[in-house]
């Protein structure tokens, strides 16, 4: 059997039914073989980056690895951003890259790149298959590595001759990687210590992240919270793993987290970190991060534990979140029994007081520009009954979506957290839509972000992926503009997006539907029309250009140092937005 057929058979053994990719010289044989079978569909994208993010969206929504096939050279270099993104956010994708023939490697051959060298720092592991006899085993190993332990991207580089040469196809049942032991089950003594600490804590908080999503531990997180009567903070990556409308939920914490979520972790006496990694956007100033708390940290990745210099972990538990939480809740049921129920009443009184006094809020009046928060809020209220999957790009719209789109279930939230990749949202939504053709998939994007992968509109139309994209259009790189407002005296260096396309016409040019809302009264109608349409829809929401995203912890601040609104020097009376540099025509008053 030739290498290309071995590739296909191996993927079938792994249950793959879709590949996202783009052909090129050295992978022609593989694409040719794919063309002659029907078990695996190839979603051909317009750009390799789109294929990578589609695979990520597919993997995040389903929990199964997303598969990418691209060519050598530029095909490979275009996939670097999705690899780095998946590595940061622990997304299991397997990227197959073509490589020049083995005898040409190292000769600066046409479309040659050092795929292993380039991808090494942004993959969990990578392989070059030098002999077709090793291909099936390597693919088996790639799937194993990508999906076990802390998941992550794996790259398999396949030279052209390996895809043509023949070998017997035997798919190994077992993986033999003596250096790879990703499974850890939480130490029993530590679990008991944690349960004891939780039972005694007066001001505990759960700080749950993406690790709980990957571990499929939503039920276990809920059990822990409910048994212990413990409030829950979610990270950006953890959204959905605990129901946003649950009375114990405080929402998202971090730089743009809710007031209560941030105050709660700052004043807690016990932090239970679950599959979260003390990212700098969560901790703020590390030396002042939850200064009064003991910390329990549950994580599958030993390098995540005690990584941050200033943050001491008192009870580290190395293990799969789901397995550890099951044990922990059992132990907690025993140790919490008989304790005074009102131990945490003062804590909850304090939390409720914060929630009442400082809820997430915005004001929308009929006669002013659309508030971006209003769009997200309406999007949420009008679609929540459909249990949609929501992807985002990166920037202000992402934070507003995280704040106002309340998710009840895990694997509904596709966002680029660690790397912060603008251009992620739209293809990621398409990947999720490909996995669940019948579900409602929304993409909240920005006028800047959307342009970074807009070419995939063609793919959405061609493959009938009816993603509904909501562009929060403020004619700026909004988050950049916000920082310039706050920290660069309002000099909008390069953040004004002149030359924006007409998104309605753009959608139409690709054969999709474009809709526009320019006043608050348009918003509901646009959303409803989009949701009821069969195909992909681009919704252009012309929103207030000066709106900033709050709460905000300025960089270097502690979690109790939040800006809740524009500081006085940015108040609407004095604030006028002026496009700088060559945009002298655009004097925009807020």
């Amino acid at each position: 059997m030739n290498g290309s057929k071995i590739f296909i058979e191996a993927l079938k053994c792994e249950g793959v039914d879709v590949i996202f990719g783009l052909p090129g010289g050295v992978v022609l044989k593989i694409f040719d073989e794919l063309h002659q079978q029907s078990d695996i569909q190839v979603v051909v994208t317009r750009h390799e980056q789109g294929a990578g993010h589609m695979a990520e969206g597919y993997a995040k929504a389903t929990g199964r690895p997303g598969i990418v096939l691209v060519t050598s050279g530029p095909g490979m270099t275009n996939i670097v951003t999705p690899l780095a993104d998946a590595y940061m956010d622990s997304v299991p994708i397997i990227v197959f890259t073509g490589q020049v023939s083995t005898q040409l490697i190292g000769n600066d051959a046409f479309q040659e790149a050092d795929n292993l060298g380039i991808s090494r720092p942004c993959t969990k592991h990578n392989f070059l298959v030098r002999d077709v006899k090793d291909l099936a085993r390597t693919i088996r190993e790639a799937f194993h590595i990508a999906t076990t332990g802390r998941p992550g991207p794996v790259l398999v580089d396949i030279p052209k001759d390996v895809s043509i040469n023949t070998a017997e196809f035997k798919y190994p049942k077992k993986v033999n990687l003596r250096g790879y032991n990703p499974n850890h089950c939480g130490d029993k003594t530590q679990v008991t210590r944690a349960a004891e600490a939780i039972s005694q804590a007066k001001r505990p908080i759960i700080y749950v992240g993406g690790g709980a999503v990957f571990s499929n531990a939503a039920d276990e997180v809920k059990a822990l919270a409910e048994i212990g009567n413990i409030p829950v903070d979610m990270t950006l990556m953890g959204l959905g793993v605990f129901p946003a409308t649950h009375p114990l939920s405080l929402g998202m914490l971090g730089m743009h987290g809710s007031y209560t979520a941030n105050m709660a972790i700052h004043h807690a006496d016990l932090v239970i970190a679950v599959g979260s990694r003390f990212d700098d956007r969560v901790t703020g100033k590390t030396s002042e991060f939850c200064p009064k708390a003991k910390i329990i940290h549950i994580d599958i990745d030993p390098t995540s534990i005690r990584k941050v210099r200033d943050i001491e972990v008192h009870i580290p538990i190395l293990g799969d979140v789901k397995a550890v939480l099951m044990e922990l809740t059992q132990a907690l049921k025993v140790s919490i029994d008989g304790r005074k129920k009102d131990l945490r009443e003062p804590w909850w009184n304090q939390l409720r007081d914060w929630m009442d006094r400082y809820p997430l809020t915005y004001a929308q009046s009929d006669d002013e520009a659309i508030k971006p928060q209003y769009v997200i809020d309406r999007l949420y209220r009008l679609t929540t009954d459909n249990d949609p999957i929501v992807s985002t790009d990166v920037g202000q719209h992402q934070m507003w979506a995280a704040q106002y789109f309340k998710l009840e279930h895990p694997r509904r939230w596709l966002t680029s957290g660690g790397l912060g990749t603008m251009g992620f949202g739209f293809p990621a939504a398409m990947g999720a839509q490909r996995a669940y053709p019948g579900r409602l998939v929304l993409c909240v994007s920005g006028d800047g972000s959307f342009q970074m992968n807009l070419q995939e509109l063609a793919t959405a139309v061609l493959y009938k992926l009816p993603v509904k994209v909501a562009i929060i259009n403020n004619h700026y790189h909004g988050m950049v503009r916000q920082w310039q407002d706050l920290f660069y005296e309002g000099r909008y260096a390069s953040s004004y997006l002149s030359g924006l396309p007409d998104y309605v016409k753009l959608a139409e040019a690709y054969g999709a539907l474009g809709l526009r809302a320019t006043s608050p009264s348009d918003v509901d109608a646009v959303i409803q029309e989009a949701v009821h349409m069969d195909g992909p829809v681009l919704m252009d929401f012309e929103v207030s250009r000066s709106e900033n995203c709050y709460p905000m912890i300025p960089a270097g601040g502690a979690n109790n140092e939040m800006l809740l609104q524009d500081p006085p020097h940015l108040s609407p009376a004095t604030k006028s937005l002026v496009g700088v540099s060559d945009d002298s025509d655009s004097v925009l008053t807020a």
């Binding site: 090494r120 720092p121 990687l177 003596r178 250096g179 990745d301 210099r309």
Partner: protein, 175 residues
């Protein structure tokens, strides 16, 4: 757990898959995360599928803990041991070319003898010396020879093994 923030030298001994690219992975890990490599040696073991890497690195307890964990996470790392945490024997080797004159020839030879170095090449104006020992010993010898005129110096980098326990003395932490 108390963490010391004093920088110390550590010798890490790693068994890795004997494949191309493994060295790049290890080196890339150090450079990518800003860790120091003082020296690194790699050579095959009795098992041809396994290579032994000896890495001398520097850092405080927290950094060293991260380095060990990160190295362990590499798929091709079979075992990772911080030898500094136990009794160990380490050796470095150097080949040193020393300029000589009629006046200094005897002195160079005497220093070589003191450090049990061997003369492996000799011309009218040069001795080439070979010396093995701990890093400290070699540095001491270099220090003495420097004033006499070192022409060229090559060091192999550290190799190290854990000492075998003996008698009841199995818990020794240092030499």
């Amino acid at each position: 757990m108390s963490v010391e923030s004093v920088e110390r030298e550590h010798i890490v001994s790693m068994r890795v898959e004997n494949r191309s690219g493994v060295l790049a992975r290890v080196a890339g890990l150090f450079s990518g995360r800003g860790y120091n490599i003082e020296s690194l040696t790699v050579a095959p073991t009795l098992d041809p599928t396994i290579s032994m890497m000896t890495i001398v690195t520097k850092g405080d307890d927290l950094i060293i803990e991260q380095i060990l964990k990160q190295l362990n996470k590499l798929v091709e790392a079979i075992s990772v041991v911080d030898l500094t945490e136990r009794a160990y024997i380490d050796r470095d080797m150097a080949i040193i070319k020393v300029k000589t004159t009629l006046e200094t020839r005897a002195e160079v030879f005497r220093i070589a003898e003191i450090f049990r170095a061997r003369v492996i090449d000799s011309t009218n104006t040069m001795y080439t010396l070979e010396v093995t020992g701990t890093g400290r010993k070699i540095e001491a010898m270099i220090y003495q020879l420097e004033s006499l005129g070192i022409e060229e110096l090559v060091r192999a980098g550290h190799i190290a093994v854990a000492r075998e326990p003996y008698g009841a003395d199995t818990d020794r932490r240092s030499e």
